[in-house]
């Protein structure tokens, strides 16, 4: 049995040790906000926080996910996360929206660690998150907005 603490709630799962956290969250726990995009940590759609650190759940086996796991479903209750979400809404960032949960998770982790990042720091930190709709300029502007910096695009 594997114990996972997701958004403050303990889940006892009967899954193999090597099952990626992504599939445990989606198929076994049944929370759908964390997305499958590539399975090899190249796109960031599956990003969750593990003890506050942005983590690619698609390559993290459940046996290594022993800490506080936070998903996009809990971001509205997080002061930084909710600010990021609001900036996303204000600037109309999302197109299809599929990658945006992972983008928000990554951006929130960045702002928690670095509340006032330089533009280049944001670009570097977000380089691992793909958006096929091409919303990068608005993502960048939204992160700067959430960080109380001037909006630019």
């Amino acid at each position: 049995m594997i114990n996972l603490t997701i958004n403050g709630q303990l889940h006892e799962l009967d899954v193999p040790d090597n099952m990626p956290l992504l599939w445990a969250i989606r198929d076994v726990v049944g929370m759908k906000g964390t997305k499958f995009g590539c399975g090899i940590a190249q796109c960031g759609a599956c990003t969750v926080h593990l003890d506050g650190v942005a983590t690619r759940s698609c390559i993290t086996p459940v046996s290594a996910a022993q800490g506080e796991i936070t998903t996009i479903e809990a971001m509205a209750d997080d002061p930084v996360g909710s600010k990021v979400q609001q900036a996303w809404l204000d600037l109309g960032v999302a197109q299809c929206g599929y990658c945006q949960g992972g983008q928000i998770m990554n951006a929130t982790a960045l702002l928690k660690k670095t509340p006032e990042p330089e533009t280049q720091e944001i670009i570097d930190a977000m380089a691992g998150n793909l958006c096929r709709c091409g919303t990068y300029n608005r993502i960048l502007a939204a992160i700067e907005r959430a960080a109380d910096k001037e909006v630019s695009s």
């Binding site: 590539c38 996303w88 109309g92 299809c96 096929r132």
Partner: protein, 777 residues
């Protein structure tokens, strides 16, 4: 109307079941007025000519409950273009609904009820703007009539305000919710009695809002799905959660057309959670929307299914694939380049090109290559299907629910009425999800699990290796210039496998709609023009990719026009404005295009004046003509597609190591009237980034019939550092022309504009995409 036309009309109406239980002329009149329309039956062009046509019955699209909550049905696929917000906004504005009391409901796949639902070809707003406004205006009139009836006054004494109807003479008012029940009982008014709101009465349509070139104008009206997306609640294909679901992945033949020779699933069945394997028969070539065949592994979760698939031992039989098993990209490119040296099927001709080339003062010649690309939407194909008691129910992110139903019905040999398709949000489409093969594949697996939902998930490797690939292409151009550098002749040979090869024996030549995407519609004013299409066979599934054949045509033509300007020693902008000639309307038939994106050429001619205007606007905004620092340059390209006009200017810097930095993009866009400028801007911004990927990174190559890229580690897509530092979108204010498309026309000029900018910065000409490491070599 002739007798045979009458018969056809009745047969069609009857087929749609609209006369069931009704009799006589009045029933026909009702059907004609509100459900399919005589216009639909007779239309040659536009929305009415699409399968299922248009519908503007308010009772189909608009529902108001007693509390005043307005539900507007969206019948088109939402894949990021924002149609759920934009189309609902159009109806809400005309209705007079308070945006905070409006919700969207997604229509199931039902073209008889909802009209055409094939979300493709940048058609949603241009085909549905008018019907949705009429539906909303009719609903508004019904609410007014209900209020007038209650107050015992005539309807012209009352007027609808925001979410209520008022009687100005007495100050009485009733909310939409209070009127809804009575309004629903009323006859739907005839179209002739509808009065649409004037522009000054509109609150949302055509109004700028949101983020405009770096400045936030307002945050209203908010996006329909915005909150669900940022909180993780939005439901995409894989998020459909039904009790008792089993999960499936499929091992497919690596070569198009190959089959399973033998399979040993003994190790797969030992994997914890694996329930069963299922053989899927492919249907051979051409594949159309049918599954490729292979072996499905079905398990209690996706991971177990993937682990089971890894443990399969499959021997493939390449014999049925024929020479697809020899398909290798380098060899193929060379064969097309060779074929491009000989004349091909003549598509369009004026003047004597060969003579003019001989007499030319200077000849310019170049060959351009664009590789296969995979659409790679962030959500890989996925579907949930349950087959039970001779019926099938599917939940899937599809662009074309009708084709999905037809495919499942055909596979299971059941009637269309017994197949239900629920449309989820699409995590990107870009043409991939216009092909419902993945849903039909899921139905084939579900058939083996009567009553149990099957969620069939494609991995990213599946998605890239088994895409319906964007056609690989070679375009060879030659032009003759006179002593002043002015073009006297233009010869263009275009070679690509055709999408038609997906549905019929390979024609090896481009179909009319493919040539009509910027090849024969090329609007330059040159005395001698000859356009040819030599043959190019298909060896993989070729399919629609956002903007489709406009991509190679714009890439080649716009790169070459720049090469001509360089050869002539002229400014690129001045040169192309001269090539285009004075503003005029070119009728599509005069250039051999009988397609015109399905639109009436009288309403939608190729308008050279509009083309000139976007070029002038983009170059002005970009500061064209100013001196640039060494290693920095501006590049221009423009294109007409999906009956809209786009010009792009990039400001690019290339360092000594070949690293490209995009300082700025200026995009001028003219789609005629703008329903939702906010989402038009976002489409242009997104097209810009996607086009940068086409220029710099995207490529799928084949070796012995097998795709050599399988995931984002080698199939490279643009990331935030690749995006322009600044993107400026300049929307042309043009409410008087007919409405054009938005989702696709922004993309074709992006790659050539970027490559032209790279030339301006470095003097290096890119003729083979992607740029990759060509600048550092």
């Amino acid at each position: 109307m002739s007798q045979s036309d009458d018969t056809l009309l009745l047969a069609n109406v009857s087929r749609r079941g609209l006369l069931k239980g009704l009799a006589g002329a009045s029933a026909l009149l009702l059907a004609a007025r509100w459900d399919i329309g005589l216009a639909n039956e007779q239309a040659q062009f536009g929305a009415g000519a699409m399968p299922g046509g248009w519908v503007d019955n308010p009772n189909v699209f608009i529902h108001i409950d007693a509390n005043g909550l307005v539900t507007i049905v969206n019948n088109r696929a939402e894949m990021g273009q924002g149609i759920r917000t934009s189309l609902v906004m159009v109806a809400a504005d005309e209705l007079g609904a308070d945006w905070d009391r409006v919700r969207a409901e997604q229509a199931d796949g039902d073209q008889d009820k909802f009209g055409n639902q094939n979300t493709d070809g940048s058609r949603s707003m241009r085909h549905w703007y008018d019907p949705m406004r009429r539906a909303a205006a009719a609903a508004r009139l019904m609410l007014e009539q209900a209020a007038a009836n209650q107050w015992g006054v005539s309807v012209d004494q009352v007027r609808a305000d925001i979410h209520k109807v008022v009687h100005p003479a007495t100050g009485r008012e009733l909310g939409f919710g209070q009127l809804a029940e009575a309004a629903r009982e009323l006859d739907v008014p005839g179209r002739e009695g509808l009065v649409l709101k004037s522009d000054s009465e509109l609150r949302f349509i055509g109004k700028e809002s949101g983020l405009i070139n770096g400045e936030l104008k307002s945050t209203h009206p908010k996006a329909i799905d915005g909150e669900d997306i940022v909180t993780g609640k939005a439901i995409f294909g894989a998020d459909v959660d039904l009790e008792n679901t089993l999960y499936a992945v499929v091992a497919r033949p690596p070569v198009y057309g190959a089959t399973v020779k033998s399979v040993d699933d003994s190790e797969a069945l030992k994997v914890r959670g694996v329930k069963k394997t299922v053989r899927i028969d492919g249907t051979g070539q051409p594949a159309a929307f049918n599954p490729l065949g292979g072996v499905a592994v079905v398990a209690t979760n996706t991971w177990a299914a993937m682990e089971g698939r890894r443990a399969l031992k499959i021997e493939w039989d390449n014999t049925p694939a024929g020479n697809n098993a020899d398909y290798t990209s380098d060899t193929y490119r060379e064969s097309l380049e060779k074929a491009a040296q000989s004349p091909g099927k003549v598509i369009r001709q004026s003047g004597d090109v060969e003579a003019a080339l001989k007499e030319a003062n200077k000849r310019v010649s170049a060959t351009y290559y664009m590789p296969h690309m995979a659409q790679a939407p962030m959500e890989p194909p996925v579907a949930v299907v349950r087959v039970s008691g001779g019926k099938a129910e599917a939940w899937a992110p599809v662009q074309n629910p009708r084709a999905t139903r037809e495919g499942i019905a055909g596979l299971l040999e059941i009637d269309l009425e017994n197949v239900t398709v629920h449309q989820t949000l699409l995590g990107g489409g870009f043409g991939r999800k216009s092909k419902p093969d993945f849903v039909i594949e899921a139905a084939q697996v579900a058939k083996a699990f009567e009553g149990q939902p099957i969620k069939l998930q494609w991995s990213r490797e599946d998605d890239i290796q088994h895409a319906y690939f964007h056609a690989v292409s070679v375009d060879h151009l030659e032009a003759g210039l006179d002593g002043n550098g002015k073009a006297t002749s233009w010869r263009h040979r275009t070679l690509s496998p055709s999408i038609a090869s997906l549905f019929a024996p390979d024609p090896k030549h481009k179909a009319g709609f493919e040539l009509g995407m910027g090849f024969n519609t090329m609007p330059f004013s040159i005395p001698a023009i000859r356009l040819e299409n030599p043959p190019a066979p298909a060896h993989v599934r070729i399919g629609w990719f956002r903007s489709v054949y406009n991509l190679p045509h714009a890439w080649a033509i716009q790169s070459f026009a720049h090469e001509m300007a360089v050869a002539a020693g002229k400014d690129h902008r001045d040169y192309v404005l001269d090539l285009l000639g004075p503003g005029r309307e070119v009728h599509n038939l005069t250039v051999g295009d009988g397609w015109n994106y399905g639109e009436d050429p009288e309403m939608y001619p190729i308008d050279v004046g509009r083309m000139r205007r976007v070029i002038e606007r983009a170059t002005e905004e970009a500061g064209w003509g100013k001196e640039r620092a060494k290693g920095r340059g501006l590049g221009l390209a423009f294109h007409h597609s999906f009956v809209s006009y786009t010009a792009v200017v990039f400001d690019v810097e290339v360092d000594d190591g070949g690293q490209v930095t995009i300082h700025r993009a200026d995009i001028a866009f003219d789609c005629g009237p703008q329903a939702n400028p906010e989402r038009i801007r976002s489409q242009m911004e997104g097209s810009c980034v996607m086009g940068i990927g086409i220029a710099l990174q995207n490529e799928v190559t084949f070796q012995d019939g097998v795709a050599q890229q399988s995931n984002f580690d080698r199939y490279l897509l643009p990331r935030m550092p690749n995006a322009p530092k600044v993107v400026r979108v300049h929307l042309i204010d043009n409410p008087d022309d007919a409405m054009g498309g938005v989702g696709e026309p922004g993309l074709p000029p992006v790659a050539p504009a970027l490559c032209n900018a790279i030339y301006a910065a470095t003097g290096k000409r890119i003729r083979r995409l992607p740029v990759g490491d060509q600048l550092s070599a």
